[in-house]
């Protein structure tokens, strides 16, 4: 029957195939095969052209640099030198020119050079329109942004023998010159913004000019071996693999710009009168150790947050109030936003994944706002020498039990029917949590009370008290929808498995990982189950 049924159904089968095959073809064509490159520059993309006749050109810059190097040419082959002898950041021009001229310039220069190379019998780039302006590009950009972290900064400090002036400068309007000012060093982006403004060129332009320029020809006072200065190719900085390969200095010395070690964060002087909330004791030194660069918290400037973020927002902060700047859940710059993402680390997630995201901690605002009231700010400021000077939250609650009473193991067997009771290594878990907390300054600061630790699992139970049994809240029979409270079995499994999954633990892989199967397992689970 199987074979014979094909014969009479040939007609319909043919119709089906007709449909399916033709629809299949379109899907195949969609699959793309492109090589990722980090050095692609999209030529024409930023041109304000109304109607681009052809797609913009994905220009592989490193490929051209390599060829230039091989031919012992230098950058000026493409980037002509300006009167100072520095290569122009633009292609074959010193000044911006009209759009139409620019199109002609690119076509003449690119095709011209490719043609010449080809005429000389060498391997050359394309000259046909569609080979540069590819509708289905050969490459896809894998370029990643790159910036200087404190490790790389330290390596530059060391290489230049603390000659900060090699990179840092400020603009002196009176004399119209760039001078170095000790103690006023800032981030490049402080002045060099996304786009060229007045006499300050765009960050992208100066970063490449300054970095690559110095890497190519380090100033004579900086002693570097020939070719040992930093990279010059696009991929060296912008490709993921290269970025990962950059040598790192663990725990580099602090960047000294005269910043304080411990701060009491408050509103700005002008806002201080209308501010009633306690200040926030803030260890700048510990955050420096934890952050990769100043820009993790600061934006372009290295000013205090309250300089721009006033209580009411204000123009300079684009309407972001000081409150939002500190508490935004979605921002990477804000205190709460950053702390929330820290909680997602495997060591923290076991407890914190179960808790509501961004919830107000039990200690309330005091968890962070543990400093003196604003009016005492001036007096107390000088007193702040270590984190111990201001502890967060309510005072420690005395434990109602002797810590030795904390059981070594806990047997969970209230529901055991199919399986033997599960034996939980209770104290081991506690020790593990304590160990993780000890590893982190932040965790130690916020979990300084012994009683807090228990609440990771024994949520809702009063601090300091010996926790009640799980089944005193979680009923065995059914969940409580109104209080969003799972039934006992669900509570156990969600809590245990949830924590194990959040912490990335591979065990248990099946049910018997926690509880052994009973010898005489009842045949019908349903009949022996609850109710």
């Amino acid at each position: 029957m199987q074979a014979s049924q094909w014969i009479p159904t040939a007609l319909l089968g043919a119709l089906f195939l007709c449909c399916l095959s033709s629809s299949g073809c379109t899907q195949e064509a969609a699959a793309d095969q492109t090589t990722p490159r980090a050095d692609l520059i999209a030529i024409g993309e930023r041109l304000p052209l109304e109607e681009l006749e052809r797609p913009s050109v994905l220009f592989p810059h490193d490929l051209h640099t390599e060829v230039m190097t091989e031919r012992e040419g230098d950058c000026t082959l493409c980037h002509p030198a300006n009167p100072d002898g520095e290569p122009s950041p633009s292609f074959q021009r010193l000044e911006e020119i009209a759009e139409d001229d620019l199109i002609d310039l690119y076509h003449d220069e690119c095709i011209g050079c490719h043609q010449e190379t080809a005429d000389a019998g060498q391997l050359a780039g394309p000259v046909a329109c569609g080979d540069c302006h590819q509708r289905e590009p050969l490459y896809a950009s894998s370029r990643l942004p790159f910036g200087m972290d404190k490790s790389l900064h330290y390596r530059h400090v060391k290489a230049t023998e603390e000659r900060c002036e090699a990179c840092h400068h400020v603009y002196k309007a009176e004399t119209d010159e760039l001078v170095y000012a000790k103690g006023e060093e800032s981030s490049c982006r402080d002045c060099h913004r996304e786009k060229t403004e007045e006499n300050r060129q765009a960050f992208q332009v100066v970063a490449h000019q300054a970095c690559i320029g110095c890497h190519r020809e380090p100033p004579p006072e900086i002693a570097v071996e020939e070719g040992a200065a930093g990279p010059q190719f696009c991929a060296d900085c912008h490709d993921l693999d290269h970025q990962l390969a950059i040598e790192r200095v663990e725990d580099p010395p602090r960047l000294d710009r005269g910043q304080e070690d411990f701060l009491l964060l408050s509103a700005s002087e002008a806002d201080l009168e209308s501010s009633e909330l306690r200040t926030v004791p803030f260890s700048h030194v510990d955050h420096e150790a934890a952050a990769e660069s100043c820009r993790v918290c600061h934006h372009e400037t290295l000013d205090r947050c309250s300089e721009c973020h006033t209580l009411k927002g204000g123009e300079e902060s684009e309407g972001v109030t000081l409150y939002q700047a500190a508490h935004s859940m979605t921002s990477d710059h804000s205190c709460v936003g950053c702390h929330e993402s820290e909680k997602r680390a495997a060591t923290c997630a076991g407890c914190h994944d179960q808790m509501e995201q961004g919830r107000v901690p039990e200690a309330g605002c005091d968890a962070c706002h543990a400093g003196p009231l604003p009016e005492r700010l001036q007096i107390e400021r000088s007193r702040f020498r270590s984190l111990d000077d201001f502890r967060p939250g309510p005072a420690e609650v005395a434990l109602s039990f002797v810590p030795d009473e904390i059981p070594e193991t806990v047997e969970i067997g209230a529901l055991s029917d199919r399986y033997e009771p599960a034996v939980m290594p209770h104290r081991k878990i506690l020790e593990k949590l304590r160990e993780h907390i000890g590893e982190s300054t932040m965790a130690s600061y916020f979990h300084d009370h012994e009683d807090v630790l228990c609440q990771g699992c024994h949520h809702q139970s009063p601090r300091g008290e010996k926790p009640p049994l799980c089944e005193s809240c979680h009923r065995a029979e059914s969940a409580d929808l109104e209080l969003a409270k799972p039934a006992l079995q669900g509570a156990y499994h969600q809590q245990c498995l949830g924590c194990h999954e959040s912490m990335g633990l591979q065990e248990p892989s099946d049910c018997t990982g926690c509880h052994e199967e009973k010898r005489e397992v009842s045949e019908t689970l349903a009949s022996s189950a609850v109710r």
Binding site: R344, D353, E356, Q357, R359, S478, A479, L481, E482, A484, P486, A487, Q489, G490, A491, H493, Q494, L497, G498, C511, T524, L525, A526, A529, V530, R531
Partner: protein, 349 residues
Amino acid sequence: MSISRRRFLKSMTAFGVAMTVPKAGGAYGSFASHPDSCGVLHDITLCIGCRLCEKACNEVNDLPAPERPFDDESVLEKRRRSDDKSFTVVNRYQVDSRPGSPIFRKLQCNHCREPACASSCFVAAYAKTPEGAVVYDPSVCVGCRYCMIACPFDVPAYEYDEALEPKIMKCTLCHPRLLEGKLPGCVEACPQESLLFGRREDLIAVARERIHRHPDRYVDHIYGEHEVGGTNWLYISGVPFEEVGFRTDLGTTPAPKLTSGALSVVPVIAGVWPALLGGIYLMTRTKEKTSAREKATAVREAIDATQAAADEARKKAAEKAKADQEKAVQAAVKKALDQAAKESAKEGS
């Protein structure tokens, strides 16, 4: 829509036909479902793929034993659907955004608030119970399988191997157990409480709460809250629903609404067509009759005219004949007289 319906209902009341009037304010398509309508919330993030729900379902519904036992994980390698021998199945999905950690999802009847199967059934074998279950009555089922065509979730399954008494098989939300005050079999068996039974409204609140508390863990959507008019099974997920086998293109139109428009034309056609066709017939016939009458008149006139012409001709001919005759008579008389005169003259001589 609502105005026309109100007017329509008013007219129905006038006829004395309408005995039930929906509660005020119920716009077309948004009826308040039974206040205690229950359902199940399936939190996909909690499901560990143990298939105890499948096992429990099999047992409480007295379904035949599966080919491979319920703890055989190789079953999960294939994408399955519910059929006539299993009301529920758990599928495993590998999602690109979470490599290495499979996601499990249980499939069964979603117990729509506006069930497509009920809307499509021409013997009303399906019913939505006040408890929220969509139940099926095999005692009236003809076996047309239109419900299988209609169901957007491909749930109803048919006993193709039954010769004379085939039934549709599908999850009942354990309606008999609900009436006994028990939980649905699968819910009771779920060790993770990935399945949560309760009033639909409460479940939506729970789902909202979970999404609100863990915005990073969940996709901000409760599948089934509005899909095809809402279902009593609800789902929350950590990955986009289409990645774990859900149809996200079903829209929110309840199934009965898809056909109610076309069906509402039926009485109109039944009302207007006979009158229209009758009218056309009468017009054609009147036209025929008129043309027949005109034809008859024309014929008569033609006949009359011909008759008249013929009469005239006959008359003329007659007159002529008469004249000719007279002439002939006169001529004959004259001739006779002449001859007589001749003969008398001859005899006289």
